[in-house]
Point group: C2
Chain length 147, copies 2
DNA sequence: CGTAGAGTATAGCCATGGCTATATCATAGT
DNA sequence: ACTATGATATAGCCATGGCTATACTCTACG
C-alpha cells in the first residue's frame, strides 16, 4: 500500500497551483458582484450594510471590497448612495449566477444533500472552469433525459 | 426571464461564506502537507527548494509556509535540513490525498477531461466537505458496478 | 582541508481581506 | 428647519501569502 503519487512534472504542477491561486483571487470579486446583483433584483437596491450582512463581514470590509469592484470597473457608486453594477459587472454576475446554479445542481445530481450542496458549492464554484462547467451541463442534460 | 435568486436568510448565507473562507484558510496548509508527503514518498526527502518549485512559488514563500506548518504542529525541521511531517501532518496528508483522488475521479466520471479535472480539482478539493466526499464515493462505487 | 556554489534563512517590501473605532453624511420626524 | 439616528466612509490595526535582495550554512570537489 505504498500509495505512491503520480508526480507530474514540477512545472505542470506549479501551473496548476498558480491557476488555483488566480481563481481564488477572483473569487471575492465574483461573490460580491453576484451578491449585489441579487440584492438589486430582489430589493431594487444594493446597500453596503445589506451586502456586509449577507457576506458575513463587517461593514468597512464590504466598503473596501466595493472599492476594489469600482477599481476593476465592475461597479459604481456615489458616496452614501447605493451600489450599482456596470455592464461588465452585470454580465459577470449573470455568468457567476448561472455557474453557481449548475454547480449546485451537479452536486445534487451525484447525491449530495441540497443543503450541503449549497454550502460546499459556495467555495467550489470559483474553481469550476468553462470546460468543467460544460461537462457538468452535459451530464445534467443527459440525466434529465434518461435513456 | 427574471432570474430572481432564491435569497436565503441573510444569516444562513453569511454562514456559507464564512465557511468558504475557512476552507480557503486551510487550503494552503493542506496543499503543502500533501506536497511534502508526496516528495518524501517519491524522493525520500522534502527539500525547501523542491517544495517551492512544485508549488510554483519563490523559495522564501515556501520557507514561510513551512514555518506556519510547524507552528500548527504539522511539520518539523531543523535549519538547513529537510522537512518532515508529524503524525498529525502525515495523517492530514493522507486524508487530503485521498480526497484529491476522489474529487478528480468524480470529475472524470461526470465527463470532465482528465487534464482539466486535475487543474480544477486542485482548487476544488479544499471545499469538498466530508458529506460531499461521501456522496462522491458512493456515486463512483455505483458507477463502477453498473446495473 | 579550504573554498566555491548550491541550498536555506532572514529582512523587509507590497496587496489583500479581515477587524474596531470614529468621523461624516442623509434623512425622517418633530 | 433642526436634530437625532442610522448608514456610510475613513483611519489604522493585524495576519496572510506573495515577492526580491541578501546573509548564512552545508557540502562536495579540487
Amino acid at each position: 500500500m505504498s500509495n505512491a503519487p503520480a508526480h507530474p512534472p514540477a512545472s505542470l504542477q506549479a501551473r496548476r497551483f498558480a491557476h488555483a491561486r488566480e481563481c481564488q483571487a477572483r473569487a471575492l470579486l465574483e461573490d460580491y458582484v453576484e451578491m449585489i446583483s441579487d440584492l438589486i433584483s430582489v430589493s431594487g437596491e444594493a446597500r453596503v450594510a445589506d451586502i456586509a450582512e449577507r457576506m458575513g463581514v463587517a461593514q468597512p470590509t464590504a466598503t473596501k471590497a466595493i472599492g476594489r469592484l469600482k477599481r476593476e470597473g465592475l461597479a459604481t457608486s456615489r458616496p452614501y448612495r447605493g451600489i450599482f453594477l456596470t455592464d461588465a459587472g452585470a454580465e459577470l454576475a449573470e455568468r457567476v449566477r448561472a455557474r453557481h446554479r449548475t454547480v449546485v445542481a451537479l452536486l445534487v445530481a451525484v447525491g449530495v444533500p441540497a443543503e450541503i450542496a449549497e454550502i460546499d458549492g459556495e467555495g467550489l464554484e470559483h474553481h469550476v472552469s468553462a470546460r468543467t462547467l460544460a461537462a457538468f451541463e452535459k451530464f445534467l442534460a443527459a440525466q434529465n433525459r434518461p435513456k
